[in-house]
């Protein structure tokens, strides 16, 4: 932890010294989020509802996806851009040091430009929670606490899935440097997809993104419980744990990748 804080300080100082670059990238990220938000708002302005979900209910999912994705991009960029770390021989230096590889790869890249995007996502999340609050607290303080905790665990679980995707992509980089862009389908595409309730998608797509990459477990399934919808039961509150299982499995792949790694450098 202490070592990671030192990594963070170095990255922070480095990025703030190139301030104009940081500002431009932060602005770009913000505009991307805002235009995605504009799309949601515009569509609700015309149609009023989406497959039985209200605007604030969808905004809740939107906020969960944005916050978790941008925080994971901030923290785990090292895994996301791991093929560059590998190609530059930087990983060999990491292996030579007497510390764990995961911590060092995390520390190698921290992307503070994602902070603005995370804040916008958080603001949307707070707005949605305030609008939906009355329904969530209607049946007593204990259940109300459970419902808010479910939203928190959806956010954490969603972050775990995104982190898992980055780690899996990095593990794939040990095998082949080609075609890694496909990982973006799951990371960027996963974010885009999970901004909306997964129930609107085709059954095959939904199954894949529930049982293989478990976005469904941090999306509409626990949301039913968090919103106190009729028929929703409390076990759904534990589904976001699947995100952590996914992350744990991806670390197994990572370990296998490190073991089979043969350096590219001299």
């Amino acid at each position: 932890m202490e070592l990671w804080l030192r990594y963070a300080r170095v990255a922070l100082m480095g990025q703030f010294s190139k301030r104009s670059n940081l500002v431009v990238v932060t602005l770009a990220q913000l505009l991307l989020t805002l235009s995605a938000l504009a799309a949601v708002l515009v569509l609700f302005a015309r149609f009023g509802t989406l497959a039985g979900y209200s605007r604030e209910e969808v905004l809740l999912l939107f906020g969960v996806a944005q916050v978790s994705f941008s925080l994971v991009e901030l923290l785990a960029r090292g895994f996301d851009s791991f093929s560059a770390i590998l190609a530059q021989g930087e990983f060999d230096r990491i292996l030579a040091r007497p510390r764990g590889t995961i911590l060092q790869v995390l520390g190698a890249r921290l992307e503070f430009s994602r902070l603005g995007r995370a804040l916008v996502g958080a603001a949307i999340l707070v707005h949605a929670l305030r609008a939906l609050g009355p329904a969530m607290v209607a049946d007593g303080p204990a259940l109300a606490a459970a419902r808010y905790a479910t939203v928190a665990s959806m956010t954490l679980g969603s972050g775990a899935i995104f982190a898992g995707i980055f780690v899996l992509g990095a593990s794939l980089a040990f095998v082949s440097p080609d075609g890694l862009e496909v990982v973006n389908i799951f990371s960027d595409g996963g974010r885009e997809m999970s901004q909306y309730p997964l129930s609107i998608y085709d059954k095959a797509l939904r199954r894949f993104f529930t049982f293989v990459v478990p976005f469904g477990c941090v999306n509409w399934l626990p949301l039913e419980f968090a919103l106190a919808r009729p028929g929703a039961s409390w076990p759904a509150a534990f589904l976001p744990l699947a995100g952590f299982a996914f992350l744990a499995l991806s670390f197994l792949a990572w370990r296998a990748g490190v073991r089979r790694h043969a350096s590219t450098g001299s």
Binding site: S20, V24, L27, A28, L31, L32, L34, S35, A36, A38, A39, V42, L43, A45, R46, F47, G48, T49, L50, A51, D178, G179, E181, V182, N184, I185, G189, E192, M193, Y196, I200, Y201, D202, L205
Partner: protein, 281 residues
Amino acid sequence: MSASASASVAAARPSFLAPYLGLFRTRLVRGLAYRAAAAAGVATQFFWGFIMISVFQAFARAGLSPLDPREIASYVWLQQAFLVLVVVWFRDAELIRLITTGDAAYELVRPVDLYAQWYARLLGGRLAGAALRSLPILLVAGLFPEPWRFRLPPDLAQAGLAFLALALAAALTVSVSLFAYILALVTLQPYAAFILLAPLAEFCSGLLVPLPFLPDALRRVLELLPFRAMLDLPARLWSGSLTASDSLRPFALGLAWLLVLVPLGRAALSAALRARDVPGG
């Protein structure tokens, strides 16, 4: 690279168009060489296409929709297939490097019109990207079951009009994106202009949400801007949501914008060149 190619073409046949055609061709050939990137791009575009169609169709089920589910599918697949032709953020990284390192000064030495030269290379790069990506997307999407299927336009005339509109869209997109390169020349901040211009163009052209889904007041304003002919016009002509007779006005407007934007861009470029010194020794 492009310099020697255009020079040799110019030497062989000194017509005034030759250097621009040479640049256009080298960009096209180079773009076609990046097949792996195109394959990954195609996969990504399919996925995003599915997401967009699902979202729009799910919304449209809620009530009176200006586009029916089939029109939505055709609209989105046409957009995904020709994305590199119509998005502002598709950048020529090498041209940006040329601008920010000051190597653009060498371009000035050549006896060719700089605006036309940049226009040709940007158009060539975009056509190469679209040539690789569009066919696989359209062919495969044409085989999907309803309501996902990419459909042909109602008749041949409408298909022809849609292709004309696509050509106009590409010409307009290049003329709009050129302003971002010109701004990069002024500010030496390579991406700032793209970052502002790209989301704006995406929203106003109907790339983010088809324009008929927007509130009517906003839509009426956006229909007057040049962005409309960058996607809305070809995609809606193709999907059949816009009839041939209703397309005449947007066609004329788009063409008028092109005739305004090209001289404007040319003037801006020469003003920008006069106004600043080029970095580098």
